[in-house]
Symmetry: C2
Subunit: 741 residues, 2 copies
């Protein structure tokens, strides 16, 4: 755990420069606009330890799988989000010495993420080896107003007369650190620089995505624009323009750089070059300040929809805004081909691909804070992948239109290759079905079933039907060889959560069929045809839902995580010593698997979903049994525990778990923030407030609140969009007030 | 399944050249002498599909592990036997055209492995593209008489006058096909050729093993020795000598090549060059025929110890001799640093390393057909690895001298990296302890316990003690998260075989302690000291053996392979269609894991070991339950089933399984003979005859036979070494006769 970020209600502030924290800070100071984004890397040269990261939504590369021992059913490729050209790059040479904080003496240093206005600021002074002191003020943003555009302003002064050489370039020599075979994933299509313009168009190998970047750089001395740029002979992938001049200590130099970032997802390949020219021209008359102001207005609108105000607890306030800010940087929801990578635009880890996190954790945030089309697009993403999910199931031996959605995917194809996850962590199929239910329950857009949803539900129901088998021994249906949400158990039988999800899916599919049949008979006919669906299939489904086996302990009066769970030694986490944690770093996999320790909510994840089927006493019993065994080594665990603790009126634990999820990255609890931020768990943080402390639920088409205010909060207020109305929710010690716009 | 090898009691014969079968034949025609060996590759150039393979015992390389997803506890390296310099190579140029069967018209072709005399013959005629017909007679051997030496004779005639260029070289440009990162594993130390001698000394990277090869090549025209060799400028790693001359159709050319193969396992690195010189000189006066005759005598002696004669069934006769031949090629037992790789000197697969196969399948063959020092050396190999086994256990979180022997090893370090095997297939520890018991039971060398065995048994007992845990639920000790011998089940709880092995080990260790304490009190004191052993440890062992849980089905009245086995759909293998088999090739891993299909004997492996604890009815019940579910996709499965079937008096199944194991490679049942022969399963074949059909057991220090002669066998006879006496066993329809030498 770290604690170097200064508290502030609207800002993330780092003071002083600690090279060992640089990767962590680069993650924390990431910005994006849903279409592209980047880590908080420096504009100027930095040769110290750094994870460079610039990403363009939807642009991926199918890296060849690396595997120790091949198992039939593995995918050959792992599609990963690519490190893309970096438009922010500058090189500053002062009396021949390159400004590089890895080699100079840093006098003071401050990074600020202004979340309210959505931009990144960095101010520092440093003394070069040649003795010259430089003071820099830099800021930049990825425009939320014009989502093809980004801009930066970089000003500096020196304390002695000096010869300056400024180069402004696009860095196209970019690799992924996680490349399996150390490959360069890009081919050069065009690289050009003239006057103050640089253009770089690259194409991904294999997938042939085009990414085009064009920058315009302007130079000001004491706010007066000068222009003596020259294009430099530079490496093929890094077009550059450069200017040389002398300055005096009383002069301030400002470099303003605007960038257009396009990809062939949105612009025809053949037109990218021309559209770059047009777009950069359209911004020519606007200076950095103008562009930033438009961007700020767009963020103001975003905050108006999604802000949460916590009075009396700056630690909690800063954290929730950081989570909301990053969620809005990651996904804007206007493109059904895109989804939410676990790291968003803040790192490479997990390949930037889509996991069940989207449906299980992210959907509620987007459906409550944005237009319903945003959540709908997340669902249509999966609808569009249905045929791939059917192929994926066929690869494993399923048939008849059974669909198994991939564990990890970019374009619908499975990317992951650990048998115990890829083949066995099939509860993801349940989350995808639950997402449809959740969306419809929240938005009342029931027609979605007829348009898209039912086809997906049928494919999933068919999968569960084939995935269970009848146990003569138990005289019940069982589900063998699965991995539940708790990935510290592999290849178990009858994971309660998965069994429960399976029967829920079958029931929901049945209900949905009845409803579509009655309300949209023409659609129903169409769906039966395209899915080759026969009502007789339902008979087997009904048998399964009626005779599914759920592991249960009479002794503890609880559902068991899986068959044989009580054969383990039940040791509470509190008995682990600090130097054993996180166990995933300190223990062998053998020891972990045989232990009782739970990585993330598993039975409790099911109770969270199906809370209404259980009494408060049942919830309490399960919570009391499982929580003490849970090490929360998944970022997705604390949020569910916070919500359940709030429902159980356990204010202290609800609050503690809130801080753990909300400040997961700010405090680097899992010692992995350097790899990027835990974007999908940030949506879980949002849920802890809305579903936990405010206790919001939709029942009978009504929003219901059962609040529990943390003791040290004076008030909690937020807006929530529900069925096209904005509800203002205000909660303090006197109770809850709801105003509807 | 293939069936192209001609039947013959003493020979393996291939007629005609089928390029698609070449890799299979290269495996079948492998030869070796325990110290080095090679596949049946051609002496002359062959550019068609081929797996080149020359191996020197004990020379390995720690190839960097390739892994998809790292798990704590994995080893960083996988030690593998190396493809070593090939001394057999010739290049024959006739009127400028290189003789290469990939490009000529083969007129006739015959390969013969003369098992009686232990050498390989190849005769063929072929028409070159230039129209010349060449007739070749080649033969070679790896000397059993002088195990640093090999020799070949290669004669040919042509049907037209021709210009000939013969090159004789050592091929040191050798790679492993299974190299993880396509690395070249060798460094050149010396490469030289002059007169008719070539010398190549290579050193392995990292491990720094030296391998030195020196060849002497002599040329005869019509049996008259001529010598106009020149050394050629050749590539660094392939020293070569060459001769050019003209020949007439009535002239026959013979190339005789002798080779010395040394490694730094046996000769000091600095002396290798000199020893090569000395040894090649010592053979200078002997021609190929002389050397071959000495070699034949050595094989005659070997056969005298280990032959099995089956009258009336040439198919069975050929097969058992092939198995015995290859076992004797692989391991001679005079070096405790060596062991038996699953492929011996016949291929790269499985890295040439040591598996539990050695103790479970190979030990009985060597202890019955060779001096007891041979089996003892196999045990001392493990004794020497005890400290590594303790380290290996520590890596997984065990302590206090608990030893987990590696699944796959060369020098005692674990090499394998699949968590479900590496961490979980721990029954191997049981086989290693059982090997000690088996050796002592057979040889009466009980002092071995005091000298070496007990230390190993204590390390293993400590492991089991820590590996089980008390189940409150079951009120018994359980063993969670294991993989039994049936690798089609992973991470199961309470695999009966493993639980049984564990308690057997604890009991055997207890007995052994008592015996050593009483009979060798000084040794006992020493062992207590080096092992830091305290008698109090025994209390926990006794609790475990008394209260171990064994899964049992009341319904079927049998032990269950593991917890939950009866939740599976029990479908007999007979219901699988042919095009689904082998399932490991046709099914996804997901489907295999969830099926009831058993890869190899698991519960039955335990019944085989502990047969005397069960009634004939119990054996029958278990056999009838498990055999129909077994797909025998491990080469180690049919032998155990054959033995059990024989014990149960089921002559037909015993015989069918005998053929399946005995002709596994000759008929390529598993479609993988191309990778090399299944050497360790060949020892299993030997057991089917000795322990199955002859029904040999050691009871109360006596050899007991309970024979069952296959219907079509007129007689079965063999010699067996038991406690320094050779017993001649003869079995026909009239019963069994045993004469003691």
């Amino acid at each position: 755990m770290k604690n170097y970020i200064k508290y502030h209600p609207w800002e993330i502030i780092e003071e002083g420069f600690n090279t060992e924290l640089n990767r962590v800070s680069e993650s924390l100071f990431s910005i994006g606009n849903g279409k592209f984004g980047h880590r908080g890397n420096f504009e100027e040269t930095y040769t110290g330890d750094s994870l460079g990261g610039n990403y363009v939504a939807g642009v991926y590369y199918p890296d060849k799988t690396r595997v120790g021992w091949w198992k039939n059913g593995y995918p050959e490729y792992f599609a990963k989000v690519l490190n893309a050209p970096n438009w922010t790059k500058l090189s500053i040479k002062i009396n021949g010495e390159i400004l590089d904080l890895a080699h100079t003496k840093v006098i003071d240093f401050k990074r600020v993420l202004d979340m309210k206005n959505g931009f990144l600021i960095r101010n520092f002074s440093t003394k070069l080896k040649n003795g010259i002191c430089v003071t820099v003020h830099a800021s930049r943003f990825c425009s939320l107003d014009q989502d093809d555009m980004g801009a930066l302003s970089y000003s500096f002064t020196v304390d002695q007369p000096a010869e300056i050489q400024v180069s402004s370039y696009i860095d196209g020599n970019i690799k992924n650190e996680d490349s399996n075979y150390d490959e360069f994933f890009w081919e050069n299509i065009k690289s050009e620089s003239n006057d103050n313009l640089c253009t770089l168009i690259l194409r991904t190998k294999k997938t042939h995505f085009y990414v085009g970047v064009k920058t315009e750089t302007n130079l000001f001395i004491n706010n007066e624009k000068i222009n003596h740029f020259q294009s430099l002979k530079s490496s093929t992938n890094s077009p550059s323009v450069s200017a040389s001049f002398s300055i005096q200590p009383n002069q301030s130099i400002t470099i303003e750089k605007k960038a257009i970032v396009l990809s062939s997802l949105n612009v025809d390949k053949g037109l990218i070059d021309q559209v770059l020219v047009n777009e950069i021209s359209s911004f020519q008359k606007l200076c950095y300040e103008d562009l930033l102001n438009n961007h700020k207005k767009a963020w103001a609108k975003k905050w108006n929809e999604s802000d949460i105000i916590i009075e009396g607890d700056i630690v909690a306030q800063q954290a929730i805004r950081f989570n909301i800010f990053q969620l809005n940087c990651t996904y804007s929801g206007n493109d059904e081909r895109l989804n939410i990578g676990p790291k968003g635009f803040t790192g490479e880890k997990y390949g930037g691909s889509t996991y069940w996190d989207t449906e299980a954790y992210c959907l509620p945030f987007y459906q409550s804070t944005a237009d319903k089309s945003v959540a709908r697009n997340l669902l249509i993403y999966r609808y569009n992948h249905l045929s791939k999910a059917i192929e994926n199931a066929e690869k494993l031996g399923f048939s008849g239109g059974a669909a198994l959605y991939p564990m990890v995917t970019m374009n619908g194809e499975e990317c992951h290759n650990e048998w115990e996850i890829t083949f066995e962590e099939i509860h993801r199929n349940g989350a995808i079905a639950y997402g449809i239910y959740d969306y419809i329950n929240y938005t009342a857009d029931k027609k979605y079933l007829a348009e898209y949803g039912l086809e997906v539900l049928i494919g999933i129901a068919r999968f569960w039907k084939q995935r269970v088998n009848w146990s003569e021994e138990k005289q019940a249906y069982v589900m063998l060889g699965v991995t539940g949400p708790n990935e510290f158990e592999n290849n178990v039988n009858n994971n309660w959560y998965t069994n429960k999800m399976a029967t829920w899916c079958l029931n929901y599919c049945e209900e949905s069929i009845d409803w579509v049949k009655e309300n949209y008979p023409t659609d129903y006919q169409r769906i039966c045809k395209v899915s080759d669906f026969d009502e007789n299939e339902r008979k087997a489904w009904a048998l399964i839902t009626n005779q599914m086996y759920y592991p249960f302990s009479d002794k503890y009066n609880i559902y068991l995580q899986q068959d044989g769970f009580l054969d383990k030694e039940l040791i509470p986490v509190s008995q682990l010593s600090d130097d054993e944690r996180p166990i995933v770093e300190h223990w062998s996999w053998d020891k972990i698997l045989r232990s009782c320790f739970i990585k993330q909510a598993d039975v409790l994840q099911g109770l969270y979903y199906f809370e209404n089927e259980f009494t408060q006493e049942e919830l309490q019993r399960h919570y009391d049994f499982y929580e003490p065994l849970t090490v929360h080594e998944s970022s997705l665990s604390p949020c569910i525990h916070s919500i359940l603790a709030a429902k159980l009126g356990d204010e202290k634990r609800a609050y503690d778990f809130y801080l753990r999820t909300a400040r997961l990255d700010l405090n680097d609890y899992n010692n992995d923030t350097r790899d990027g931020l835990h974007i999908t768990s940030m949506a879980g943080t949002w849920m802890t407030i809305i579903k936990g402390f405010a206790g919001m639920e939709v029942k009978n088409d009504q929003l219901i609140f059962s609040p529990l205010l943390p003791k040290n909060w004076e008030s909690l207020s937020f807006k929530i969009k529900f069925r096209d109305e904005i509800q203002h929710v205000f909660l303090d010690k006197n109770g809850i007030k709801i105003n509807i716009n």
